[in-house]
């Protein structure tokens, strides 16, 4: 991944294609939805293989955590305009309510502050109506190059 954009120019659509085509993001099925300066929005299609309890059909919280980790990660590269390797220091997620069975979940991550070594992020997930979020996240990442 480090040498995907050797010139430093960050292309989120290309990046999500690469990231969601393999590894854990592929297992979860995360897709690109939208982006802007300093934010990225992804989509987690409803999938019964990701349900926590077959009798309710409610998605497990783990896949939502994974999507928010990826959305907040991408928001950092979109804020700085270039790809640089980073590691999650911590990520907190508040589960406001369960996602409705059958509905896709959208996750938007935003990088609201950057320092030389640390990126501060926050984000929200919803299942169709951004005014009725299902989860909030907050976290920090550390840049690992030269660390």
């Amino acid at each position: 991944m480090e040498n995907t954009h050797p010139t430093g120019e960050f292309d989120p659509v290309q990046m999500i294609r690469l990231m969601s085509g393999n590894g854990h993001n592929r297992l979860i099925g995360v897709k690109y939805n939208a982006h802007g300066t300093g934010w990225a929005e992804l989509r987690l299609p409803y999938n019964s293989a990701l349900v926590s309890d077959a009798s309710t059909g409610i998605l497990a919280s783990g896949p939502i955590f994974t999507m928010m980790d990826m959305a907040t990660s991408m928001s950092i590269w979109l804020k700085s305009g270039r790809f640089q390797p980073q590691a999650t220091l911590d990520l907190r997620i508040d589960y406001l309510r369960p996602a409705e069975p059958g509905k896709d979940v959208f996750g938007r991550g935003e990088c609201y502050h950057l320092t030389r070594s640390i990126a501060f992020v926050r984000g929200q997930a919803h299942d169709g109506d951004p005014d009725r979020p299902i989860a909030h996240v907050a976290g920090t990442y550390m840049f690992t190059a030269g660390a």
Partner: protein, 128 residues
Amino acid sequence: METNSPFARTMGFGSERDSEGRLVLTMAFETNKMGRPGFLHGGAIAGMLEAVAFTTLAEALDADDNARIKPINVTVNYLRGGRDALTRARATIERLGRRVANVEAIAWQDDPENPIAIAQMNLMLQRD
């Protein structure tokens, strides 16, 4: 969430008991758990920590206790990268009240004294 939930099966979680009889979840390193090349995805580690916290709490509730467990929040601290090795996770119930439980979970690869990630989780116990 149980160790035999659809999500747990998708993740390939296994379970074992340590010498004190505590539940330990296991997760093999496979490409479908990977984030950056060669390392576990933070989301896969978080999913495992949540699962062991949830399952350990479910076991601790009395069999006749019909409380339903709902996640309130989870904070994951990542201490080191998860490498190409078997990962284990176990949970400790810090507080078990009537309405809320607080659980700490750790994930490790070679030595539980040297965890790769630690999670603090608050869970709601909903009683009818």
